[in-house]
């Protein structure tokens, strides 16, 4: 963060961005003991202050090196810098103060320097300095404006400003997909891609659900271990896919109108770290799903077995919900197609009685599987007696017959 300062001022201002320091290792050049240089080069390595005793040949040192360039800065990271004013003269300078602001495309943020609110006297060769922190919440161009004020030789207040410009970039790309399940659960697939220039560790990815839902993370095995293994390390451009299951809260689940209206899923909260623990944190905006269209009648299965032996009758519980605005009078029809692998047992053309708007009823069905394999459950129809319309439900579920 260098900036040319043309005028002669009594004090000089310097600013250094404090990214995390680096761990440095010496240049590792070794020889076998019997080689011409013998152990001389090995001894150089051993004596180097940056090498680790007993692990000299491994470039994982303990020696901290200060940042040597401004580096990149990403949204959600904390911008830290050291602002330092130095008395360049050979006499004390009175009333020195620093003011720092951060100008983004939309706003100007005053940055507090914690220690030096009021102006101080700077003795010869003394410095006035402070570390400034600011969590970056905007993308694009930022300008750090530092203003130094001091008492000039003519007993007037003099001041100068310096500007330091930097670009805040986007660290992550988050893509989401929703699946609305028959069970009213919503599955969220969130793909988090590292678009920084280095590798990052996803320290925490969590979904804060909205008021309507209860979230369950599907990214851990039953014993609590991450499905991604020990390390959620993403090289640049790599992505990691997270899966969440959201169940509507009971008061919402019981009301088909509320479910149909529950669009807000929640927010993804992501914490990542990069070089030597440099931390960043982002929260997405409210994620919204496309709510399913239920039409007039919603039919779902409950307790549907996943597999049944061939020729052995099995039961299905079928839930029928009136999603329309009027009372329905329904007739249940069961048809066994010629090529169907299921044969229905029980009464077809059964009247189900009136169903209020939002009301539900359960019916128990029995079927006999006649062919092995994976088969859809077909042949259920409901007829609305009032408008004489028949609804077919041929693809609501499947069962494996063995």
């Amino acid at each position: 963060m260098e900036n040319k300062e043309g005028m002669d001022h009594l004090v000089a201002l310097k600013v250094m961005r404090l990214t995390k320091p680096a761990l440095i290792s010496p240049k590792i050049v070794t020889c076998d003991f019997k080689d011409l240089p013998g152990n001389i080069l090995n001894n150089y390595l051993k004596d180097d202050a940056t090498s680790v005793v007993g692990m000299e040949t491994l470039a994982a040192g303990q020696f901290l090196l200060l940042p040597q360039s401004f580096g990149n800065i990403y949204l959600g990271e904390t911008f830290s810098c050291y602002v330092c004013v130095h008395n360049e003269t050979n006499q004390p300078v009175q009333s020195v103060s620093i003011k720092a602001d951060l100008q983004t495309s939309s706003q100007r943020i005053p940055l507090s320097t914690q220690q030096h609110q009021s102006s101080v006297m700077l003795d010869v060769d003394e410095t006035l300095g402070d570390v400034i922190h600011h969590e970056v919440k905007d993308l694009g161009t930022h300008i750090l404006v530092c203003e130094v004020t001091y008492m000039s030789n003519y007993n007037t207040l003099a001041s100068f400003r310096k500007f330091f410009k930097f670009e805040v970039m986007k660290p992550l790309d988050v893509k989401t997909k929703f699946y609305n399940a028959e069970s009213d659960e919503v599955f969220l697939e969130a793909q988090v891609q590292n678009i920084t220039s280095g590798s990052i560790i996803l320290e925490q990815v969590s979904l804060e659900s909205s008021q309507q839902f209860i979230v369950k993370s599907l990214n851990e095995t039953s014993d609590g271990k991450s499905v991604f293994g020990d390390v959620t390390l993403l090289q640049t451009q790599e992505s990691c896919q997270y899966l969440y299951c959201l169940s509507p809260k009971p008061n919402i689940a019981s009301d088909i109108k509320l479910i149909a209206a529950a669009k807000n899923i929640g927010k993804l909260d992501i914490v990542w770290r990069s070089n030597l623990g440099e931390k960043g944190r982002l929260q997405t905006s409210q994620l919204q799903r496309m709510t399913p269209e239920y039409g007039d009648i919603r039919v779902t299965y409950e307790n549907l077995p996943s597999k049944v032996p061939v020729e052995k009758p099995f039961n299905i519980k079928c839930k029928i919900v009136n999603a329309s605005e009027r009372t329905l009078d329904l007739i249940l029809k069961l048809r066994s197609h010629q090529d169907s692998s299921l044969i229905w047992c029980g009464i077809s053309n059964r009247k189900l009685g009136p169903l209020e708007p939002g009301g539900k009823t359960y019916i128990d069905l029995t079927a006999v599987p006649v062919n092995t394999g994976l088969h859809s459950i077909t042949g259920i129809s409901l007829m609305d007696l009032f408008i004489k319309r028949t609804y077919d439900y041929d693809d609501l579920g499947s069962v494996y017959i063995f």
């Binding site: 050049v29 020889c31 240089p37 007993g54 470039a59 300095g129 280095g198 590798s199």
Partner: protein, 562 residues
């Protein structure tokens, strides 16, 4: 003599004979060497710590330094030959018993080194030679080697394509870099004229070369390797021309390349290394020379040279290329270990004794670990922390001593910090701590420093400072600890204190304190502090001139001059 005398190889194969060359320039070298020492100790007297001086004393006055460097034709090559006694790699993951502590080590190490370099009146140990030089030629090379072995004497004329034809590219004489910078910024008078004198007053042979290395006149050492390699017929303009390879020429190349790498002359190094390829040409094997090296097998190429060249691309920003080369080396080593496991020699041709097998397995397992370390380093450079973690975890599982276990846990901790995985870093630290309990009951410097580094990852600079300070209580002269304390102080907003900590560290131990990276840190702080940094930097330059020889690769960059 039924055993081949090593010195004979050179006597009969050198073109031009080495003896001739050396006789021309040789004049009583020991006197000159001594006079140079006086100058050096004078400069060092004021500030070098007692420990360091002790170590220098040992190396300078030890009998090995008055080697008969120029006196006869036989002594020259013998010194350059790898000592035939057992291989003993002091730097690897498996340090010898009784290895030194941080600061006090140099004396013992230099003595060790001298032992290895001195001429020993030991009988030639054929097994040790075979073990150290072992390498399996690839199928192409094997064909030529069989031809060489089976042809009647004098009737084998190899194709050009199978020959390794190196030559020196970096022709100009390198000047003492520190000296040059000093003259530019301090003027001729203050700069003195240290390096030049030194370089011209050592003997022009391997002993002189080691002398330059030991005293840190690295650019002069590169110049001397050029002289010696030129005398061996592989000098400037010799690239792509047939030449004679000996273990000696390859040792000279190793020395040249190693030093060039240290002082970061990587571009020239890449060019000069290119003709060697992967050292798989048949003329890099002893079997290529049945007349000279009867019954000797393996490669003329020192293992460290093979490794250095394999790692080379990682120094020019191509770690993935280095990684490929290192995996090829690893594969050959694995094949050799498999052969050994079947009670065969490394190349799978002969049968060996149990004792021989154990020695070989030990040597090659050690080298294998060294290669794995290099692969980890490439992975770190590529930020492929997954691979680095996998390899280190495997090495940890295989390590046999508590020291190794602990050192690897500590390294894994820092590896995780590099990746940003702070939680994992802490787990490794705890593991390291458990192992440390078996070694010593209280936390040591390494543990405190690792703890401090984790604090830094959490952004808790005060806590980090406290941990580093505890480390500093244990080793007040530890440069790394002082440096880390200074870095913490800066992040805590205490610039002036940070500067003073670093300055004190340099004062207390200039030899180690004038470290390139510490200088970078200090000059970074100077630049933040004030617009007028010139005097302070020049003071550091004067300190460098006083305490260091020509070892810093880039003085101007380190001091942020210009």
């Amino acid at each position: 003599m039924d055993k081949p005398n090593l010195s004979q190889y050179f006597g009969s194969s050198e073109i031009p004979p080495a003896s001739q060359f050396f006789d021309e320039i040789g004049t009583s070298p020991s006197e000159m060497v001594q006079s140079v020492y006086l100058g050096d100790s004078e400069g060092a007297q004021t500030a070098i710590t007692p420990q360091v001086r002790a170590s220098f004393g040992q190396s300078e006055e030890g009998p090995t330094d008055i080697l008969p460097t120029v006196s006869g034709s036989t002594s020259i090559p013998v010194t350059s030959l790898p000592d035939p006694s057992t291989f003993f790699d002091t730097i690897g993951p498996d340090p010898p018993i009784g290895v030194l502590k941080t600061n006090t080590g140099s004396a013992a190490m230099i003595t060790d080194a001298m032992d290895g370099l001195s001429i020993k009146n030991q009988p030639v140990d054929k097994e040790a030679d075979r073990r150290r030089d072992a390498w399996i030629p690839d199928e192409e090379a094997k064909k030529t080697l069989i031809k060489a072995q089976s042809s009647p004497k004098g009737s084998f004329f190899p194709e050009r394509e199978v020959l390794t034809m190196p030559g020196i590219v970096l022709e100009e004489e390198l000047a003492d870099a520190l000296q040059e910078v000093a003259v530019k910024y301090l003027g001729v008078s203050s700069a003195g004229s240290r390096g030049v004198v030194r370089a011209e007053h050592v003997s022009r042979d391997e002993a002189g070369l080691r002398e330059l290395l030991r005293t840190g006149y690295l650019r002069a050492a590169v110049n001397l390797t050029a002289t010696l390699i030129t005398a061996a017929g592989q000098g400037p303009g010799r690239m792509h021309r047939p030449t004679k390879h000996t273990p000696r020429t390859l040792q000279l190349w190793l020395t040249r390349f190693a030093v060039m790498l240290r002082i970061k002359l990587v571009d020239s190094l890449m060019k000069e290394a290119e003709p060697f390829g992967d050292f798989m040409k048949p003329d890099m094997f002893y079997q290529f020379y049945p007349d000279i090296h009867e019954n000797r097998t393996g490669s003329l190429v020192p293992f460290s040279l093979r490794l250095l060249i394999a790692e080379l691309p990682s120094h020019v920003g191509k770690p993935e290329e280095a990684m490929d080369r290192l995996y090829i080396i690893l594969d050959v080593i694995d094949n050799m270990l498999t052969n050994l496991n079947k009670n065969k020699t490394e190349d799978g041709v002969g049968i060996i004794t149990e004792e021989d097998k154990n020695e070989s397995t030990r040597l090659w397992t050690g080298r294998r670990v060294r290669v794995l370390h290099s692969i980890v380093n490439c992975a770190i450079a590529l930020k492929d922390y997954r691979l680095a973690t996998n390899i280190l975890t495997k090495l940890q599982q295989q390590s046999t001593t508590a020291q190794q276990q602990r050192a690897l846990s500590s390294a894994l901790c820092r590896l995780q910090l590099l990746a940003g995985n702070v939680e994992a870093a802490y787990l490794h630290l705890q593991h390291a701590r458990l192992t440390r309990h078996h070694l010593c009951p209280t936390p040591d410097v390494r543990e405190y420093v690792d703890l401090g580094l984790i604090d830094i990852a959490h952004g808790k600079y005060q806590d980090a400072y406290n941990n580093f300070a505890k480390a500093g209580d244990q080793e007040p002269t530890n440069i790394m600890v002082a440096n880390n304390i200074a870095v913490c102080l800066l992040y805590m907003g205490r610039l002036k204190e940070a500067i003073s900590v670093l300055q004190k560290a340099i004062q207390s131990d200039p030899e180690r304190g004038l470290n390139e990276n510490l200088l970078v840190n200090l000059c970074t702080l100077y630049e933040l502090e004030s617009a007028n940094t010139g005097d302070k930097k020049l003071h550091l330059l004067r300190m460098l001139c006083k305490h260091k020889s020509d070892t810093v690769p880039n003085v101007v960059e380190a001091l942020k001059l210009s």
